[in-house]
Subunit: 182 residues, 2 copies
Amino acid sequence: MDVGDDVEDAIETRAEPRRGRRPARRRTIDEIEEAGESGGALDLSGLTGVVGYTLRRAQMMVFEDFIRRFAPFDLKPAQYSVLLVIGDNPGRKQSEIAAALGIQRPNFVAMLDELERRGLAERTRSTTDRRSHAVMLTEAGRRLLDAAKAEQARQEADLGAILGPGGREALVALAKRLTAAG
Amino acid sequence: MDVGDDVEDAIETRAEPRRGRRPARRRTIDEIEEAGESGGALDLSGLTGVVGYTLRRAQMMVFEDFIRRFAPFDLKPAQYSVLLVIGDNPGRKQSEIAAALGIQRPNFVAMLDELERRGLAERTRSTTDRRSHAVMLTEAGRRLLDAAKAEQARQEADLGAILGPGGREALVALAKRLTAAG
DNA sequence: TATTGTTATACTCTATAACTATA
DNA sequence: TATAGTTATAGAGTATAACAATA
């Protein structure tokens, strides 16, 4: 498989935009305003090559797109991820689901309350340890999740088209490297 | 330049983990608990290939690392980006800086207040339009920004080491594609 | 009228301490 | 004594409406 060559297409090959040192003498405000620099676009070259900044902007774009797409399901990214993980791990403890998703246990209570209120998930007291709640999807939750998964597959496909051949897989692999290193 | 081949090293070539259809009959909670599935790690395969999820986790890792590194400067990512853009665009209007960074104008007021309080930036009433504030760095702001830039370059280098040869540049290019498409 | 900076406000996310019931 | 779920609460971050000064 020749992923590398495909990915190459998705990459700007030119070097970072050069942003040389500022001149030693600082200009006065009047000089700057005289230069007519108040009209055009701002110089953002200092940020465009930064991993954290580009990652944040990209993530925001993807999440906004997600929220738009999932408006018919009334699901936000965090809710979708919760349904997905419950669906793949039925009967696990509430706290296990939360921990796997990096959600604080107290904050997970309200999330589950809402999913339960909507009849998508349900808590059951464990028979073996009456402290813990086993969490599962309801039939309605399973149906909604299946529909949501289909929409999610469409988003991945659309993002794949934006990113070019091999680009989506490359992006996911690189992002995972960072997560694993954290 | 052979970015593609280098990037290939950074990519998992195996296909998405297959997550087949669930069996038609749903198991009872007792059956699940009997199966002893409450002990091991959770199945997160449904999320690991998703662009939005991996992007979010990666961005969080990078930001947490940033906050740790910049603790001596007492700068959070948003504050650093503001100083950087002001430094590269001295004398521009407050609202222009905010808009360039995607910050709402009302929320930018408190941010600038804080930077001004710390003596890092300053507002000056424009002589040509007395409604607007021209924003600039102070000498102290410039010095802090220069030191912060050096630390930021170290972070990029460290992230580059994690991402492998060409990986950092590939990640930035792919992330920018998404931002541009939004 | 429109724009700039500002205030007030509200809503979402996230983080921590402490309670309860069970173990 | 420790753990699971919960409550209360506080802090960020973000979004909108409306106002004063100015254009």
